[in-house]
């Protein structure tokens, strides 16, 4: 998989621009002046340890937190403070950490929830999701609780796609999955990227994530400490020591 180089892309192609945002939970600061930019057609990965602020950054872009400073632009429009449901309608979606499917509901209900704003086109999106994830069609009337970890992750991704997003944010997709399943999930993300989705990914599994991504950012205690192309990060001595176990 040879990622094409998006660094030279003109600024107008920026889909999401997170510009020096700070977010805190009460007294605890979760993000400090963090900036991340995602261009159309890219896979961008946020690398960082537990508690580095990856989830907060993705959720803030989705609209669950309003940053105390800084700005967020999506498709050129300022979106800080815009509620989650408006952002989802606008084309941002998040596949939450730990899959976050509704365990007591059927696979089909879970998928249709993703199309809550978009129910008229649900059939069209459903056909595509079933095409990409035939297992979900097979299990559509099953309760989500009965799915395996990998199937749940596919369901969570499928549900996100039901909202017809332009930017798909995926929070730690590999967490708690067997290595072989992790490969499947990263292959799915690559496939979705080829289908035209722009992907912003957070991962502790830096090695696999960087091999799948075009560019990456390293987050440490709420601050971006390093950024570059996936190759640059893979060969960075600091990254190798801290995240690749080299």
């Amino acid at each position: 998989m040879a990622p094409n180089d998006p660094i030279g892309a003109p600024p107008s192609r920026a889909l999401l621009t997170i510009d020096r945002i700070s977010v805190s939970y009460g007294q605890v600061s979760a993000l400090k002046n963090a900036s991340v930019e995602v261009f159309r057609g890219e896979i961008v990965v946020l690398i960082g340890a537990n508690g580095a602020g990856k989830t907060t950054l993705l959720e803030t872009a989705l609209g669950t937190h309003t940053p105390s400073t800084g700005s967020i632009r999506f498709k050129g429009k300022a979106i800080e403070g815009v509620p989650v449901d408006r952002n989802v309608r606008n084309g941002i979606c998040l596949v939450p950490e730990g899959r976050g499917v509704f365990a007591s509901m059927t696979v089909l209900d879970n998928l249709l929830l993703g199309a809550h704003h978009n129910i008229r086109n649900a059939d069209k999106h459903l056909r595509r999701v079933y095409e990409w994830f035939p297992i979900l069609q097979k299990r559509r009337d099953q309760i989500a609780r009965t799915l395996s970890g990998g199937e749940r992750q596919m369901l969570a991704i499928g549900r996100a796609l039901m909202s017809s997003p332009e930017l798909v944010m995926v929070d730690e997709p590999s967490i708690g999955l067997a290595p072989i399943v992790v490969n499947d999930i990263f292959n799915i993300l690559r496939m979705l990227n080829r289908e035209g989705y722009t992907i912003l990914l957070s991962e502790q599994n830096a090695n696999k994530a960087l091999r799948c991504a075009h560019r990456g950012y390293v987050l440490e205690t709420g601050t971006v400490t390093l950024s570059g192309t996936a190759d640059q990060l893979l060969n960075d001595p600091g990254v190798r020591e801290a995240y690749l176990g080299a």
Binding site: E59, L62, T64, P83, V84, D85, N87, V88, R89, C93, L94, P96, G100, F102, A103, S104, M105, D109, L112, L113, G114, H116, H117, I119, R159, S163
Partner: protein, 294 residues
């Protein structure tokens, strides 16, 4: 045997009202995240509105029913902003705040009813509402057309509600919020608006309940709401707070139990026996028969 059949029919009619009450209560608990202790007071308020409109329109039942439903929906929507502050946080159900708020609303309704309507005397609905001639009569026990009417409407209302819950878009959003409010938010379900939809739906149910109670009881008093509130809370706790299917089973059971006691022992003892049975169950299963589902 006829007594048994008659009382089962009566019990089902009463039970389906309990089911509707518990369902409306649980819906607010699951989706709007409030303990609306005074929901039955809202229902009784709507009974008064039905009574008022029946008097004004020369017993036009359709207009009375529509006015009852409208007032119940309106009352629920008016009280929604009071709960809004609690709804916005949404981390978990804030039982303390919502219960005090709700009890306050209940007291206001009870006081308005005792000062503003019929000089505080109990109100009586026209006898034609219950349908006059009995369909089935065994000694002192009878099945009136009104009881069959409320049974049929009750069953239709409960089934429609569950169809809506499991087969429609708003129902899906209700279930998602009930299972995991934060997860529902991340998917893009608007919590505040869906919460308001649940206020409106439980208001609609409340209006239907008010109509059925008017037909079945034939009278109402300002204190009725409080009596019913105790039973609704008991049924929902015994079924398991927030458990809709549990509420269905326990509500029907309580209705039939009360009717059987009325038929074979004495109507004056039905409340005592019902609460003794419920006490035994709650001591044996503190989380309710069907478990909590918050």
């Amino acid at each position: 045997m006829e007594v048994f059949i008659a009382q089962v029919i009566n019990g089902l009619a009463l039970g389906s009202i309990y089911v509707l009450l518990v369902t409306g209560f649980n819906l607010l608990l699951l989706v709007a995240m409030i303990i609306h202790f005074a929901y039955p007071q809202v229902v009784v308020f709507s009974m008064y509105i039905i009574w008022l409109v029946l008097g004004l329109t020369g017993n036009n039942l359709l207009l009375g029913a529509l006015a009852g439903i409208a007032s119940s929906i309106l009352l629920n929507l008016i009280s929604a902003p009071l709960f809004q502050k609690v709804m916005e946080k949404r981390a978990e159900v804030d039982i303390n705040t919502t219960m005090v708020l709700s009890m306050g609303i209940g007291m206001i309704i009870t006081d308005v009813l005792s000062h503003g309507f019929n000089k505080g005397h109990p109100i009586a609905f026209p006898e034609t509402l219950a349908g006059g001639e009995a369909i089935l009569r065994v000694g002192l026990i009878s099945v009136l057309p009104g009881q069959v009417f409320s049974l049929v409407v009750g069953v239709v209302a409960v089934s429609s509600f569950f169809l809506l819950l499991y087969k429609t878009r708003p129902g899906r959003a209700f279930r998602a919020i009930a299972e995991d409010p934060n997860g529902a938010r991340l998917v893009g379900i608007p919590l505040l608006r869906t919460g308001l939809e649940s206020y409106a739906l439980s208001g609609l149910l409340g209006g239907i309940i008010a109509l059925l109670l008017s037909v079945l009881l034939g009278s109402a008093s300002p204190g009725l709401g409080e009596q019913v509130a105790h039973k609704v809370l008991a049924v929902s706790i015994i079924a398991g707070l927030g458990n809709l299917v549990g509420g269905l089973v326990v509500g029907l059971f309580l209705g039939i139990l009360e009717a059987i006691v009325q038929g074979y022992i004495s109507g004056t003892w039905s409340n005592v026996i019902a609460f003794v049975v419920m006490l035994v169950i709650i001591l044996a299963k503190p989380n309710g028969l069907f478990g909590l589902k918050l």
